[in-house]
């Protein structure tokens, strides 16, 4: 089995699962309980919080646990908008955001907010000048995806942060879900106020994520109740999931330090081979793109057909982001980059993990070539 769909979700590391099971069995108490068992569970959360903070180079107090990336993004966007709506009603984002950002912004539109969606170049990057020009007196928030989930393009977060430093009243949110452990990002150095992360994208478990909220910054909660997470996120903490997330981030960060060159190499091998195929158009930019994501189209072949054909060789890739792959819409990221609609309908995304090898890469390429041949032949036969 070759799993090349790591941007959709990753296989949890063995150690991560072990941590989860151990904590679930041995430290099951409610962290809010006053007895010793509750104290132990609370201690584990604190430990995990410290470890995560250290790995992310932030303070423990800046971590707010959530149920995942979607919740973190919703909390960042709506929590900021609700808290600071008296300052202004303008938000800046981009045309290539994850649906959890886009849909949250669209909801705010219905509540009197104005949204500027910055366009991107054919390389999937925003233009800094356009960002500067779109800033208004009423702008309260800029929200930007660091590494795009579909094509892997990287936004100039540091430059954006630099510009926004001149506007202390504009909050800067970054969706770092695809970037974490693949493309390093120092939140404080980049002037980031809010940052979203999801555990299952780095071999942690589904249902766990966090939102970084810069110390001193307050936003409105989306869920109210028992006042956990300093009243920003109520609900009994998923202790075992949180511990497992810390473990996953530690292991993935260690792997990144050692094995990122391998990932870059695997991607390079695939790119070099794909370039040789006339029918293939590569959408992922060669510069400023994440090491683990590669998006391309095989002209004339519907994405789903290729995905299923590869599956017969036990190779798993995807059409577009998993969150919207059930609805048959064309990738808004590719359209935003100016890709022709017909070509966009053929888009395939390969997304790597640290575990993928060059041997796997060559197998995938071979399978792709065979698929093109086989399907090409049937297509021709059908025409005849």
């Amino acid at each position: 089995m070759i799993y090349f769909d790591n941007s959709a979700t990753t296989k949890p590391y063995k150690e991560v699962i072990e941590s989860f099971v151990k904590v679930s069995n041995d430290y099951f108490a409610n962290p809010s309980s006053l007895h010793k068992l509750g104290g132990q569970a609370e201690g584990l959360i604190n430990q995990a919080r410290n470890q995560l903070a250290q790995l992310l180079n932030i303070k423990p107090r800046e971590i707010y646990f959530t149920s995942g990336g979607t919740e973190s993004n919703n909390l960042a966007i709506k929590g900021s908008a609700m808290m600071y709506k008296n300052r202004g009603n303008h938000i800046i984002s981009t045309t290539i955001e994850h649906p959890s950002i886009r849909e949250s912004l669209e909801q705010l539109k219905g509540q009197g907010f104005e949204i500027t969606y910055l366009p991107v170049t054919s390389e999937g990057r925003i233009n800094i000048k356009e960002l500067k020009e779109s800033i208004r007196e009423e702008t309260i928030l800029v929200s930007m995806i660091h590494v795009n989930n579909e094509v892997g393009s990287i936004q100039p977060i540091r430059e954006v942060g630099e510009i926004l430093k001149k506007y202390p009243k504009i909050l800067f949110h970054v969706d770092h879900v695809q970037g974490v452990t693949k493309v390093p990002l120092d939140f404080h150095e980049c002037g980031i106020d809010l940052c979203s992360i999801s555990a299952h994208k780095f071999h942690g478990l589904k249902g766990n994520g966090l939102l970084f909220i810069r110390e001193g910054l307050r936003i409105s909660p989306l869920l109210t109740g028992g006042n956990q997470e300093w009243t920003i996120r109520s609900g009994t903490e998923n202790v075992a999931g949180i511990v497992a997330m810390a473990k996953a981030l530690r292991l993935s960060t260690e792997k990144m330090e050692k094995e990122l060159p391998n990932v870059v190499n695997v991607k390079k091998i695939i790119i070099e081979e794909l370039k040789k195929e006339n029918e293939i158009i590569i959408h992922t930019p060669f510069e400023n793109s994440a090491p683990h994501i590669l998006n391309f189209s095989i002209k004339g072949f519907k994405s789903e057909v290729v995905v299923h054909a590869l599956e017969e060789s036990n190779i798993f890739v995807s059409t577009t982001s998993a969150c919207s792959s059930k609805i048959k819409t064309v990738s808004h990221t590719l359209l935003g980059m100016g890709v022709d609609e017909e070509i966009a309908k053929s888009a395939i995304r390969i997304s790597l993990s640290f575990e993928n090898t060059d041997v796997e890469a060559r197998k995938v390429i071979k399978a792709l070539q065979q698929t093109i041949q086989k399907l090409g032949r049937t297509m021709i036969n059908n025409e005849v």
Binding site: I17, T70, F316, C323
Partner: protein, 381 residues
């Protein structure tokens, strides 16, 4: 020293077979359910199958079950979701003074947004009055949220009768059944419930998963926006392993519900009998009738809740002052205040014992004996 856990209403240990099911899913069914390849489809199947189990467990349809990250989210979703969707019909909500904070704080949020909320009082057993509910109902009431069984004292509300009262009103009926689900069989149609919140970790399932039942046709403005999951009502990659674990927990809970009920009621009776025999002065908050079988809340005159809990903890007994969710602090319980008034001694000397998996008769006797010793020590002049 044997450690005894009698705080199952705060959270409960994961059942071994739940852990097994989750382990299997985490290892082998790790795909994203939205992926179109076999890993995705396999994960999707786990969710679909679980949803049927959840629906069947309450007599609902699978499409009426919306997975959430737990009870707090389900409560928030039900209340704000209805409030936003039906504000054109009115902005009045009725709830009770003894709800969980996930309901109370969310209602307070609504008040800040221009909604009116009536907080029904309760009697000294913790029950709302149907006639007060009737009197509070208005033309612009859009939601009534009354919990099924109280988490601190165990009092069960007259759910079916409340639904009966609401039949002539256009208000929807939401119940927070987080403490009751898995302990008491619930049929939403028989009871006339429109929305119901439940959470897995109260019935030996994992933390971080729950669901909201929402009757077909009920409009619910979502709390989260994003992907197409849960038919657009709750986006976010599904927590597949937790859903599978929750399903397993529900199946186990359904296995011998009545036997477990009997066992817990027996625990309660034994506990009380032993305390009486050791001639310790105590009162029960709430009553043995109309009460969750697994929750027993006792007041010990002349003691102090913090001293009691510390002493119990020292002899290996994990009990609680009431709701665990007041994040570490012992604020006077709003439930006991509602039942007995803010000047009552009971709000400072009451302990909640809640039973569950692994508790035995001999443990209960042991606890009663230890409690008697501690109370005598603390009240010795």
């Amino acid at each position: 020293m044997e450690k005894i856990y009698v705080d199952h209403a705060a959270t409960s240990p994961i059942h071994p077979s739940v852990a097994e099911v989750m382990l299997e899913v985490m290892k082998n069914t790790f795909g994203n359910p939205s992926s179109i390849h076999s890993y995705g489809r396999q994960a999707r199947r786990v969710i679909d199958e679980s949803r049927v189990i959840f629906a069947n467990s309450i007599g609902a349809k699978p499409t009426e079950v919306i997975m959430t990250s737990g009870g707090t989210e389900a409560d928030n979703f039900a209340i704000v979701g209805i409030a936003e969707s039906y504000q054109h019909q009115g902005k009045h909500v009725i709830t009770s003074q003894i709800e969980h904070h996930a309901v109370l704080h969310t209602c307070q949020q609504l008040e800040k947004r221009g909604y009116e909320v009536t907080y029904l009082a309760v009697d000294e057993n913790g029950q709302v009055s149907l006639s007060e509910l009737k009197a509070a109902l208005r033309d612009d009431t859009i939601l009534v949220s009354i919990m099924y069984g109280n988490n601190e004292v165990g009092t069960i509300q007259p759910i079916k009768e409340i639904a009966e009262v609401l039949k002539e009103s256009k208000a929807f009926f939401h119940t927070d059944a987080v403490q009751a689900y898995g302990i008491i069989p619930i049929d939403v149609n028989d009871l006339g419930i429109d929305l119901m919140s439940v959470s897995a970790h109260k019935l030996n399932g994992p933390k971080g998963i729950g669901y909201l039942y929402a009757r077909e046709g009920v409009l619910l403005a979502p709390r989260f926006f994003g992907g197409e999951q849960e038919r657009k009502r709750r986006p976010g990659t599904e927590n597949v392993a937790a859903i599978a674990g929750f399903k397993q927990a529900v199946l186990i809970a359904q296995e011998n519900t009545l036997e477990k009920q009997k066992q817990y009621i027996n625990f309660k009776n034994m506990f009380i009998k032993h305390l009486e025999e050791s001639s310790v002065l105590f009162h029960q908050n709430g009553s043995l009738e109309n009460s969750l079988p697994h929750v027993l809340n006792l007041s010990f005159p002349g003691t102090d809740v913090e001293a009691m809990l510390v002493n119990l903890d020292l002899v290996g007994i994990a009990a609680s002052s009431g709701s665990a969710c007041t994040a570490g602090s012992i604020d006077p319980s709003h439930v006991l205040v509602a039942m007995h008034g803010k000047d009552s001694e009971r709000i400072r000397n009451s302990i909640r014992f809640s039973f569950g998996l692994y508790n035995t008769e001999s443990q209960i006797i042991h606890i009663a004996n230890e409690v008697a010793k501690i109370v005598k020590r603390l009240t010795k002049v």
